[in-house]
């Protein structure tokens, strides 16, 4: 990292998404909505910050893992935090989220995802953690998510049904 990039990374790293006065913070909500532990959610937020940093220093398009994308989606809902506190006041640049236009873009995004993993490693000098940055096949295979009302439905993993 250049000196300039270190300054930028520290700005992003020190940016606080959570409101310390709130008893139900951004990270609490992220963990609940994705059925993650709070520890996993914290790590996902940290990796999300790394991803945003990579976007800012890259001169090519990047694709996040689904986990990081979920953090991004939720952050976009916290409009004050995302657009004002982060984009305007912290990095002085707007980062827009680009949803996929359909299956025809899949090969492109696979390639972008692989390039993102490589870029991550070259910048941070370590491999992206596999539990957050999954391999490219898993990334584009396990993407069928549905919002389920758990007060009215039970959820059983497919694997469990196969075993029984």
């Amino acid at each position: 990292m250049t000196e300039e990039q270190i300054v930028l990374w520290n700005k992003i790293r020190n940016f606080e998404i959570d409101d310390p006065t709130s008893s139900f913070t951004f990270t609490d909500r992220l963990a609940r909505e994705n059925n993650w532990t709070i520890e996993y959610a914290i790590k996902a937020v940290f990796e999300y910050k790394k991803f945003l940093f990579l976007i800012l220093i890259a001169d090519f398009p990047l694709t996040p893992s689904d986990q990081i994308d979920q953090v991004w989606h939720l952050h976009l809902l916290y409009t004050q935090s995302y657009w004002i506190d982060f984009c305007k006041n912290t990095i002085q640049k707007d980062i827009h989220h680009g949803p996929t236009k359909g299956a025809e873009q899949k090969p492109l995004f696979k390639d972008q995802y692989l390039k993102t993993l490589e870029f991550y490693e070259s910048v941070f000098k370590k491999k992206p953690p596999k539990h957050i940055w999954v391999d490219v096949e898993t990334r584009f295979k396990e993407i069928h998510f549905t919002r389920v009302n758990r007060h009215k439905n039970w959820i059983f993993p497919k694997l469990l049904l196969k075993c029984s």
Binding site: I42, G98, T116
Partner: protein
Amino acid sequence: MRLLSILTPAETELILENRTASFKDLMKLTFMDLLLKKVIKIVEVEKQSHPRNDSRVYTYIEKGKNFANCKPNPHESIYTTPFEEEDDIQILFHHFVKIGYEATGKSIGYKKKVKKTGNLDAFLKSSFFLNLFGMIRLNKQGEKTKKEISNYLKEVDSKINHLLENDKEKALEILLTIGGNIFLLKNLNFELLKNIDKQLLAQKRSESNSESDDYGYWNLHMDFYEHNDLFSDDFDNGTSFQSYLDDTLDSFDTQFDASGCSVFDSGCSSCSGCGGCGGCS
């Protein structure tokens, strides 16, 4: 009392309170002990998202100077694993306590973790059913040890503040011997810990280093008395810090399950969702 230099405060609490020991107390004692040993540390950072906004103080937990030297016990690892992957991650105090809360597996799970060190084996009854249900029952040796510990702590409690003012060497010797078990003392005035003579401490450290090559428990606690800033500033004494920790733990039992949202300024309508992210440029 030699045994107290081996037992972590959570282990001691399990002997003293056994079946009635609360998992929140065990968690709290472990957390405080790790702070004391400087395995983790508290940092307070004032942040201002914009010059027009009020600044806020954020309380974080991060790796302490002894993190790398510490081999955490199973009941301590709930607080150390979050830092194993990332060197420079800071975790909000609220979240850090919640990580521990989630990882304990509530009462039975955490008591089992405390037992796993093996330090309590000689004091606890063991049977298939006790193990299965994670029940804690003292054997005869355990009952005897419980009385001894209880009496010793009462004795220390009755004289520690006086010693800290009048016989600092003796006080330091006792405090270093009982390690993190100082949190089981009810009368200790944490303010008086700041009076501990640094020269005396250096002497104790050189004595302990010449006796053993291990960077052990003893040394970890000594670090605290050398720079005992844990109870300064906002956490100005052990009692207020513990009540802060209690409040945070209690908040998880009554946490508001916020699923709503509010609208202000430009307002928002409804969200039509999106089909996943294809990246950005």
